[in-house]
Symmetry: C2
Subunit: 193 residues, 2 copies
């Protein structure tokens, strides 16, 4: 896969525009205008709009992996690693209240479009899911680890959807406290990690 500064800039700007305005509603002209190139030049880098989407998803996958690694480096205790995930909804609350979760809303849109890349979008969710399951396993959750991972992933998605619909910061904070309490109350898991 070729790489160039212009290409990278296109992907970066497209990523933001797809998040803020949706994939379908974002046109080549929109991206070209923000990047500062002509529409014609665009096609030197990407032949179709789907190719850009693919590159955007790949970018998000790479960045997600990097974030997960950062969280692992920041704290070796699984409980705090999981809380790093949970606190994302507070760290990004302004964007979430405006545009929802970038992963959840992309999956929802691509599902309705029945787009070929809808599975790849869900793969971003899987990165979080598998990583969270790993942390729950480290906490001694055993076979329940994946269920717990899915549960906390879904919880955060619900927070994002309602935060966007109601623009309610207090709700976000309450739910984050709720998740933290839930985490500490899990039976048979160590409360000291």
């Amino acid at each position: 896969m070729p790489t160039s500064p212009t290409r990278d800039l296109i992907i970066e700007k497209a990523d933001a525009l797809f998040y803020e305005g949706g994939f379908e509603a974002t046109s080549f002209a929109d991206i070209a205008a923000i990047v500062g190139i002509s529409r014609g030049n665009f096609y030197h880098h990407f032949k179709t709009k789907d190719e850009i989407l693919d590159a955007v998803i790949s970018r998000r996958m790479t960045r997600t992996r990097a974030t997960l690694e950062d969280w692992e480096i920041e704290d070796e205790r699984p409980r705090y690693r999981i809380l790093s995930f949970v606190h994302m909804v507070i760290a990004n609350q302004t964007e979430i209240m405006a545009f929802g979760c970038p992963v959840g809303t992309l999956c929802s849109e691509l599902a309705k479009l029945d787009h070929v890349s809808k599975g790849r979008a869900a793969d971003i969710f899987s990165l979080f899911r598998d990583w969270l399951a790993g942390q729950f396993r480290a906490l001694g959750a055993g076979d329940r680890a994946d269920d717990l991972a899915l549960h906390i992933l879904g919880w955060s998605q619900g927070v994002a959807v309602l935060a966007s619909a109601f623009h309610d910061e207090a709700f976000i904070r309450r739910e984050v406290i709720g998740i933290t309490t839930w985490l500490d109350s899990l039976p048979n898991l160590s409360h000291h990690n």
Copy 2:
């Protein structure tokens, strides 16, 4: 507001198409084709696409109110009324796994489009929210009633998002059991209603 069989049919079909394919991705031609009328005739009933969206949201509001009334008639015990809400995600699991929640996905899309009707879409959520809060008040939740309503609404939204991303029926069932258990474990609430 005028009413006619054709107009009603347009709204009904548009409602389904907006849900299954998204608002923006659904064209006048798509709706006209399914309704069985010409595009020109369309404009006799609706002057703009936004007018159709408005009518669709109104239809959903009306139908939601009717559903809430049905749940009240079916059982006078608040706990079972709340469970009627919760079991929607199982009753509609096929559609939810394919297209997500009709309310949540519409709110997400309109938020990104910064559409004038995004607030009206969120009003559908408010119908559920206020009704649920009423049930929690009847359970003796007092000031916490609205928080609990938002919590369970968000929970169901998270289930819908992940059910659609992962197409996982077992996950839906587990979460419904989880909500039921949570409901029964709420402190200071009667467990017999």
